[in-house]
Subunit: 391 residues, 2 copies
């Protein structure tokens, strides 16, 4: 196991009606003027925005709002949010929504107190300071409610990049599983896929002797495999939603990823898809992961065999471990199909002729060195092969 | 799943030589005058105390010290620590050691800024304020490095009680697995047992639909079953020590216990043993748990069957689930024996004639209502039966 630091100081309020505590929580953490940042109609239609405002009003906390966050949140709205936060002397950013609203809020929080262009943070500059961020989560997926990560799409070229830092970890996050019950099955399935991706990206490691984090990752995968189909079949199942919601947070606050190298190539390969085709991130991952795993499997057959046996229940073929490894990837692919996820690039709107452009953005965009690194370093040819496997 | 709040703001610095960062961490969290609190000779002999003082000196942080914490830490030393901390205007408590040093430090931290008798907190008064606490952990066992819990033995009657609160969660904890390599095998095994007890006490729940926390608990149990025997056989195995150390923290910071009722009857039953006989807490738990589990198994046979199958690898006997449940308890007992833990009350110094006194302290001591509650409510007769099963 490698040495590491772990710091997850987010206060989680979990359960039915927890959103009504938002005013008290902002007050507890010292906020006096809040920017409420959210996406589209569902937060308004469901009455959530009104309930949140009423809770802030009850504590005498002033607020302004900025809606319009899109899935794959964009740099343009971040600039708007920064301008608004500065103009209104906002001292607290409150995200209502899923990973997109939260990631956009984190970018605004860091950008508001920074002299330069906020994109610097998404090009590698460490985030030293940010306004505090709170969240009211409505989609179990990104894990952004408990992480110090944020991903934004740069509209100047349509590519996605991430930034990380303790300064943008939410101070509090409100997790009410009932708020996720109105999600359409496709979006629910995209969230399930994203959570499983966060687990696989940590599982694919080159660090030996990581039994504790291997086991924790497997535990969360097993939870998703059990609860995912239940919630697709019965969207109103609060209990299944609750288990998924906590699993989604634990999958990405890194308590199960500490002390080990991680992969993140599948995420990087997918980010070009959702940046170019504006497909759902989870759907893009569903197409990407089986291709990547099949491509890199021979780098560590026993690791893929381990997840196949421990998580997917495949029998171990001791004479042919690679057959077991492959069975696990196939079981994962069948699971994704069963919950309604796409299998091919075409279903995402992708086209073979775009592959050179995807590969170039992936491997060379924004100063990258002609390859991406992780579990295996993948050069342009590798990435082109992988995109082609998705056709 | 029940509603819950979860807040674990401890900063963890994990890895070789991490103790040399203690000065920088105290400075980061604003400490200027530190009380270093520790137990006996090993912290001194190993040079750890000197390294810690050098690290504080390098940051210009003033310090005083109080050694002498015993296993099953006592109220007398807490009073001394409070007096010293007040006299010296200490603003930071630094624990060096295992759960005993940390629990005693937490009691001093709460008592120093409280007008009344610190024991009030161990009789149920909520802890609202405390000096900040940092820890340098030398034993993987109690999980106190990541929890808001503390257990102290009242010398006025020799009984143990616990106190809890966010105010006594450590601000930072330094976890260097190499510091645990010098532990004698018996103490290592006691730590392994304590960690497994923290997992079982959370596993035994009456809350339905808790797949995510069930799975996380099982993951940590599987880790202990894999790594425990390795470290008993090869005490210098850094990797096994590292996996156990992170598992021990995760077992007790409650990320795997949220949203579910918990048991803690085994802990309560054991606390009377270590209070009266001054045996190691882990050794007491090794004798206590199999007796308790056998006694309460019929309350929820399927729960015991589940842990038997998923954790202990027992085959499920679908015609006789209680046989599977019993096999799991037997497998646990064999595991404990294999790592060198005792099986009987006699090995702890216990005597049959003490049982009435143990039962009385357990069920009636310090205002208890003639019974203890948890997974199953146990009255005086039940507790006497359980102590007798340990003979």
């Amino acid at each position: 196991m490698n040495s590491f630091n772990f710091y997850s100081p987010t206060y989680f309020a979990f359960g039915r009606d927890a959103e009504n505590r938002v005013g008290a929580l902002v007050a507890r953490f010292g906020g006096t003027k809040v920017l409420i940042h959210y996406g589209g109609g569902s937060v308004v239609r469901s009455g959530l925005l009104d309930r949140v405002k009423a809770s802030l009003d009850a504590e005498g906390i002033d607020h302004v709002e900025l809606g319009g966050v899109m899935p794959n949140p964009r740099s343009g709205l971040v600039y708007k949010g920064i301008e608004l936060a500065r103009r209104e002397n906002v001292d607290y950013i409150l995200a209502l929504g899923g990973g997109s609203a939260i990631d956009s809020s984190k970018a605004i929080a860091a950008g508001t107190v920074y002299d330069g262009d906020f994109w610097d943070f998404y090009s590698g500059k460490p985030i030293e300071r940010a306004l505090p961020v709170g969240t009211v989560l409505t989609i179990a997926a990104a894990g952004s409610e408990g992480s110090g990560d944020s991903v934004i799409t740069n509209e100047n070229g349509m590519f996605k990049r991430g930034a990380s830092g303790d300064a943008i970890r939410p101070e509090f996050s409100i997790l009410n599983p009932a708020l996720t019950q109105t999600l359409p099955p496709y979006q629910t399935a995209c969230g399930i896929t994203d959570i499983l991706a966060h687990l696989y990206e940590r599982y694919l490691t080159n660090t030996p002797e990581v039994e504790v984090t291997d086991r924790l990752i497997e535990a969360l995968m097993l939870t998703m495999i059990h609860e995912g189909p239940r919630v697709i079949e019965d969207p109103d199942n609060y209990e299944a939603r609750a288990n998924i919601m906590w699993a989604g947070m634990m999958a990405h606050n890194n308590s199960c990823g500490v002390g080990r190298s991680q992969d993140w190539n599948s995420h990087n390969i997918e980010h070009e898809l959702s940046a170019l085709y504006d497909c759902a991130h989870g759907a893009g991952l569903a197409v990407t992961m089986p291709a990547v795993f099949s491509y890199v499997m021979h780098h560590d057959v026993m690791r893929f065999a381990q997840v196949a046996v421990r998580v997917w229940g495949c029998p171990m073929d001791f004479s042919h471990p690679e057959a077991t490894a492959r069975s696990g990837i196939e079981a994962f692919r069948r699971f994704l199909t069963a919950i309604g996820m796409p299998k091919t690039l075409g279903e995402l709107g992708g086209r073979e002729e775009d592959i050179p452009r995807l590969v170039d953005a992936l491997c060379n965009g924004d100063g990258r060195p002609g390859s991406i690194s992780g579990f295996v370093t993948l050069n342009e040819q590798d990435c082109a092969n992988i995109y082609r496997m998705m056709l």
